[in-house]
């Protein structure tokens, strides 16, 4: 459906939202599964005695920031413009 319709834009918003949700789910549960099944790998040092596990934990938080930033950028640039188009041309 084209973006020019309500249903089309609604579908596009859900697609973007669900895709980003899937990305967050993958990152977080990937981290949890690594903790559960790859303990030695997570304990391997990356800098000084700082381990990969700690670094990845920080990265989960950074990923959450990055994904929210991506969504907000998409929404501000594309979604809001499409919404303005739907609301009709200014009288």
């Amino acid at each position: 459906m084209p973006d020019g319709t309500i249903a089309g834009l609604a579908a596009r918003r859900w697609r973007v939202g669900l895709l980003l949700t899937a990305a967050m789910v993958t990152v977080y549960f990937g981290f949890i599964l690594l903790i559960a099944f790859a303990k030695p790998l997570m304990g391997s040092p990356v800098a000084g005695r700082l381990t990969l596990g700690i670094l990845l934990g920080v990265m989960v938080i950074v990923c959450a920031w990055l994904l929210t930033w991506l969504y907000v950028r998409w929404a501000n640039r594309h979604y809001d413009a499409a919404l303005r188009g739907l609301a009709g041309p200014p009288a």
Binding site: G17, L50, G53, V60, I61, A64
Partner: protein, 512 residues
């Protein structure tokens, strides 16, 4: 190390009294602006995106996460990190799926959205049950935590602490409504973020501003094991199940969802989650520095000596690095934190009682503005009394599991129905009721049968249900029962109004 903890210290009391005075002044100012139900529940939609971002962070960052996670990290190292990350990852989901359409579709509660195109009464009743179950379990955890913490920090008797928290919180909500509650959250968020930041700064200053040196020092003193996954996630399914509850529970917490009605439009709702995710993520990164800092600087033995659960780790660290005045400041911040969270919870519980149950179920949506306002305040008093009563009833009980339970109910009872009502045309009244009821009942039942309650609290030999948090079973179950009931008992009128929901979710009420 001798500590000033547990004595009513003048500096702590001074900071605490200043906080109470400032927040009561805010309440007095807010009370003069709280004239309608919309002011009382939604601050007259006058909060900006940035302010709401701070207030969301204030609503969410509880004393349990500040003191609890820092303590957990200080005693068990890496495993605490699972919580630091888990509490954050629900926020992007709130942004991607919930915040904007919720703002456009609802008025005061998330039930407004679920019930929008359905038959009002059955949906409102089920949503109120889910809301109240979430709020009550969350409140018990907060009130018992408040009593214990204040006893440890100031040496006040448990009951006195619970009553003080209940009464001060009630003053905020009853007189200042959402305007006062929002500003208390903002003040608290700024205090907590800056307090934690200064404390973390003092920690890394000890290590030449090099966090890697901090982690190395922890490994030198307690072995490399503190930087590696340990026993906390012995069963991976437990970790996945808890993760699921945390991730989708955030998007079903009534006091968080209610905050999106305080901003003027969907765009501000979007901006507010963006800021909230930034602040909350920053805070959880800090808890990690604080946890390892306490481990190295205070030492695990000294932390355990004060409180076996480690809850005083951050406070001992503050005392060690900044002396008694800084301890007093951080203790007052922890108290402020509890007050703000309890106020937000009370207001959302009161909205479920008065807006969902009284106005829309008993009065069929026909109550006058004056009546709505009166009932809202009455419901607030009921919730406040309930909070104090529950706090005293559960004295000395192990209630740590109740926050996990509140998240499990929010993820199973509230989130699936909220999402499906906006996403799926075929979602029917029967589906909404089935999903919310199944979510609430299964979450409560399975947590009762889980090792968390059977082994840790009731000290039985075994538990019928293997998982410590039921999210892995109850979230899919709520989705499935909602889908099955919708297919079995379709709702032609609800389906017919889906286009209207879609339009309003995008354009808001003004687009009608």
């Amino acid at each position: 190390m001798s500590s000033a903890l547990g004595q009513p210290h003048p500096v702590a009391i001074a900071f605490f009294l200043v906080f109470i005075a400032v927040t009561l002044a805010i309440t007095w100012w807010a009370a003069r602006r709280t004239r309608t139900t919309s002011h009382f529940y939604a601050a007259g939609r006058s909060i900006t995106g940035f302010q709401n971002g701070l207030a969301l962070a204030g609503d969410y960052m509880s004393a349990a996460s500040f003191l609890g996670i820092a303590g957990l990290v200080s005693l068990s190292g890496f495993d605490g990190l699972i919580y630091s990350t888990g509490w954050l990852v629900g926020w992007p989901v709130v942004l991607f799926l919930i915040a904007e359409p919720l703002r456009n579709l609802g008025k005061y509660t998330f039930a407004d959205v679920v019930a929008y195109r359905m038959r009002q009464r059955p949906v409102r009743v089920s949503a109120a049950v889910g809301t109240l179950a979430t709020v009550v379990f969350y409140l018990i955890a907060q009130m018992v935590g408040a009593g214990n913490l204040i006893r440890l920090m100031f040496g006040l008797p448990y009951e006195v602490a619970v009553v003080v928290v209940g009464v001060v919180m009630l003053a905020y909500v009853l007189f200042g409504g959402m305007i006062a509650t929002t500003w208390v959250q903002i003040v608290k968020a700024v205090l907590l973020l800056s307090g934690a930041f200064i404390l973390a700064l003092l920690v890394v200053a000890r290590f030449g501003f090099n966090p890697v040196a901090l982690f190395s020092a922890a490994a030198d003193r307690y072995g490399a094991a503190v930087l590696t996954p340990g026993q906390l996630v012995a069963n991976p399914w437990d970790a996945v199940s808890l993760g699921l509850a945390l991730m989708f529970g955030t998007a079903g917490l009534p006091h968080i969802l209610m905050r999106f009605y305080t901003v003027p439009d969907a765009r501000s709702a979007r901006v507010s989650v963006f800021y909230a995710t930034g602040f909350i993520g920053f805070f959880y990164l800090l808890t990690f520095i604080l946890g390892f800092g306490a481990m190295v600087i205070v030492g695990q033995e000294a932390i355990r000596a004060v409180d076996r659960g480690g809850n005083m780790a951050a406070l001992l660290l503050a005392e060690g690095l900044g002396g008694t005045p800084f301890l007093g400041f951080i203790a007052a911040v922890a108290f402020a934190t509890i007050l703000a969270v309890v106020a937000g919870l009370t207001l959302s519980g009161a909205a479920a009682l008065s807006h969902d149950l009284w106005v829309n179920v008993i009065r069929h949506g026909e109550a006058s503005e004056q009546e709505q306002f009166r009932v809202a305040r009455l419901a607030t008093v009921v919730l406040g009394a309930l909070a104090i009563g529950l706090g005293i009833t559960f004295k000395g009980q192990n209630v740590a599991f109740m926050v996990g339970l509140a998240f499990a109910i929010a993820a199973s009872a509230n989130f699936p129905a909220l999402f499906l009502s906006m996403f799926w045309r075929g979602f029917s009244t029967a589906g909404a009721v089935a999903s919310m009821t199944t979510g609430t009942v299964s979450a409560v039942l399975l947590i009762y049968l889980s090792p968390t309650l059977q082994l840790d609290v009731l000290h039985h030999a075994s538990a019928l249900f293997p998982l410590r948090n039921p999210g892995l079973v109850t979230v899919p179950l709520a989705f499935l029962s909602g889908a099955a009931a919708s297919l079995g008992w379709p709702d032609r009128e609800a389906a017919g109004r889906f286009a209207e929901v879609e339009r309003r979710a995008l354009l808001g009420a003004a687009g009608e």
